[in-house]
């Protein structure tokens, strides 16, 4: 079997985005629209492509609009394609107005956000997705702003399908990709993507860090397909006593400045997030 993404591409060692890209094999006839970001670099430089599927590189602000246009054009030409706007959290910030409008129109394509919680490709600047108090080059003492929950926000557009996933649980992620690929309408998947150089942990720890995020309650796995539910892999962490201590997850360079009081504040944030999620049933 030949995968959608070929080996020998430009992703860093231990890259979460290439792990997620490999799971695109679950989606039939994918056509990627990629705004600027790590994924642009991974997809390769002309005349070489690391991808076996068609890729359209788009400006930051335009990925949702380009994806909508492509999907409509394919339909009119009678081509069955699964158009995917594949973006990072930076592109979500920059194209948010187009993304929101597209969701409201119920455009027919999938948006997959590989969220490494900062603008990694341009040098680790903080995004709206950056974890509370994380150090980035634009928040050298730790991020002070709020962290936006983009998947919940997209769900509020009453879209067909919304889900969160993690590169620590690829079976769950693949199932969600497959499901989104078989549906029609506006579909949104938010993938947690711990990034070794950006978060400052060794390259072999990508999966471990991703799993610890889920096990400590910091990343919540859920799915909406007309009905809201927690995903099997993460549902036990709704109960606080099942979670591992948050400091286990925070063993990353970007959190090395945190003291006990600040970690307690983070725990409170996470508890609040769970409270919101658990009200959605």
């Amino acid at each position: 079997m030949v995968a959608v993404i070929l080996p020998g591409n430009a992703s860093c060692q231990g890259c979460p985005i290439s792990m997620a890209m490999r799971c695109l094999d679950e989606i039939e006839n994918p056509v990627l629209v990629i705004p600027a970001g790590c994924s642009t670099v991974i997809a390769g430089i002309h005349p070489n492509s690391a991808m076996k599927c068609p890729v359209v590189h788009s400006p930051f602000t335009a990925a949702p609009s380009v994806a909508c246009g492509l999907s409509e054009a394919y339909k009119r030409m009678g081509v069955r394609a699964n158009v995917i706007a594949w973006m990072g959290d930076g592109a979500v910030d920059i194209s948010f107005s187009a993304l929101s409008a597209s969701a409201a129109r119920k455009d027919d394509y999938i948006t997959i956000v590989v969220d490494n919680e900062a603008y990694m490709n341009t040098g680790t600047q903080a995004s709206l997705s950056t974890f509370w108090k994380a150090r980035t080059t634009t928040s050298p003492a730790g991020k002070t702003e709020e962290r936006r929950n983009i998947a919940l926000l997209m769900l509020a557009h009453r879209i067909e399908y919304a889900a969160t996933a993690s590169v620590g649980y690829l079976r769950d992620l693949k199932r969600k990709f497959r499901k989104a690929g078989e549906m029609r309408g506006f579909r949104f998947i938010h993938v947690h993507a711990p990034c070794p150089p950006g978060w400052r942990f060794p390259s072999e720890k990508t999966v471990e860090v991703a799993r610890k995020a889920v096990m400590s309650g910091a990343w919540i796995l859920w799915e909406y397909d007309g009905e809201f539910r927690l995903s099997k892999e993460g549902e036990r962490y709704a109960l606080k006593e099942n979670r591992i201590p948050l400091r286990e997850y925070l063993k990353q360079g970007r959190f090395s400045h945190l003291d006990d009081k600040e970690i307690e504040e983070l725990e409170k944030k996470i508890d609040e997030e769970w409270k919101t999620i658990l009200k959605l049933f």
């Binding site: 070929l6 020998g8 060692q13 290439s18 690391a50 890729v55 690829l170 390259s203 072999e204 999966v207």
Partner: protein
């Protein structure tokens, strides 16, 4: 007009022979391995084949395969 030169073609090693980035080489101990396939699924590079042969031309030596192996069947050997 022939537009085909404008279109990038799928290529192995679009960033070159990425195996050269490696400081450590993953080696599978076939006696300990239970063929669960976890390493194959999680390898970011997709260089572990179904019969568990590692393509060292492109393996970047990240060590993810060793970390996900519950059998501890993979060792990282210095290059």
């Amino acid at each position: 007009m022939d537009l085909s030169p404008l279109i990038a073609k799928p290529t192995y090693g679009s960033a070159g022979e990425t195996g050269r980035w490696r400081n450590y080489r993953p080696v599978i101990n076939t006696e300990l391995c239970i063929k669960c396939g976890e390493c194959m699924m999680y390898c970011p590079e997709g260089v572990i084949s179904k019969n568990l042969i590692i393509n060292y031309t492109y393996c970047k030596g990240c060590g993810v395969c060793r970390e996900v192996c519950i059998q501890k069947a993979i060792v990282m050997m210095p290059e």
